[in-house]
Amino acid sequence: MVVLGLALLRRRRPAAEDANSEERLTTAVSAAVAATVVIIAGLTIASFYTTRSIGVPKSAALTITVRGQQWWWQVFYAGSGATSGFQTANEIHIPVRTDVQIRLEGADVIHSFWVPSLAGKQDLIPGRSSSLLLRAEKPGVYRGQCAEFCGLQHSHMAILVIAEAPADYERWAASQREDAMVPADMDAAAGQVAFLAKPCAACHTVRGTAANGTSGPDLTHISARQTIGAGLLETTRGSLAAWIADPQTLKPGNNMPMVPLTSVELQNISAYMESLK
């Protein structure tokens, strides 16, 4: 606008210097074109290198796969060499001051992984995988949340990121790799029998038993997790029993059906769940 105004106000030059000014104009235009090319190419290259440096590095110390489901987070820790991988849900443990690559996948609809204190949002899109780099400087519990509306229970889809000292992390990972504990007391043992006989085992896995369903969360170490139902309730024997007794009232629309159980079976199964540390 300013240039346009100046051009309007500017007095017309006398036409005498035509030949000379033509040459000068050609030089000016070519110089401007050359300068534009150099500047744009420079910015493009700078933007390319900046994008690459803030992107996820190819070789992060630890890679965790997070799969968004309606309405919980399925978490896979890959095994390496001699150590086997394991699966958990709604809770990620990471060592502090380490770059952790989170691979994100969507199972049904678009979800978004968001742990505000650690990183920005990143969508989980069905059929595609994306990545995000997490790095926690201080140990602690960082709460995350699904940040893309994904259905009825979108608000009940929390994830906890627990950053701990590398030694603590290793201890946790070692205990997660173990098979489920053999129930010690009678209630829990009866609970295991009921768990395997009822439809529970068709959807849930408890490693070390015949239960190997995959459509629900892995329950091998459910009691070691802080919450159940993706941040819905604290993990206690009471809340486990409440959840098993009527999941559709606690979290309407979720995919866990109300399995008809007698009160004794319910008591035993919740004791068994509580024993799965």
Binding site: A197, P199, A201, P257, M258, V259, P260
Partner: protein
């Protein structure tokens, strides 16, 4: 819904407008159960494989919901396992509604959710059975046996 003993749906099922056959939510749940419980391993996308097809015009035990529920719940000879201990009766009804929709000869107004994968046959609510039905050379169906 109904208990695990009898196969007849309660009166409320009809009063509610047969929700497991005519309700998009239940059909969608049925479609997820079809994938989750591995029905496709034997029945494919409805055209069969190891197990019988739902689209070839033959319902070995009839196309009624009650008999489909009974087939899923109690299993059938020649390899159909019983899902009594693996699903709740509610889920069995949802799955049965979906199976009936795939093999339906009249396109339904309600539709389950779309496929995430590539379509391998016409969508469920378009009545794939009537589209894919091929009279072909009149052969005796292997399960039909000699005519009486």
């Amino acid at each position: 819904m109904s208990n695990g003993i009898s196969g007849t749906p309660p009166e409320s099922y009809f009063a509610l407008g047969k929700p497991y056959e005519a309700d998009a939510y239940n059909l969608s749940q049925g479609k997820r159960l079809y994938a989750w419980f591995g029905c496709g391993i034997c029945h494919g996308d409805g055209r069969g494989g190891i197990g019988p097809s739902f689209l070839d015009g033959w319902w070995l035990y009839g196309p009624e919901m009650v008999s489909i529920v009974a087939s899923i719940r109690d299993g059938r000879p020649h390899g159909m396992p019983a899902f009594r201990d693996r699903m709740t009766i509610e889920q069995i009804w949802q799955l049965a509604g979906y199976v009936q929709t795939i093999g339906s000869y009249t396109p339904k107004v309600v539709a389950p959710s779309r496929n995430d994968e590539k379509q391998s046959r016409p969508a469920e609510n378009r009545g794939p059975a009537i589209i894919l039905f091929d009279v072909g050379p009149a052969a005796v169906h292997p399960d039909q046996g000699p005519s009486p």
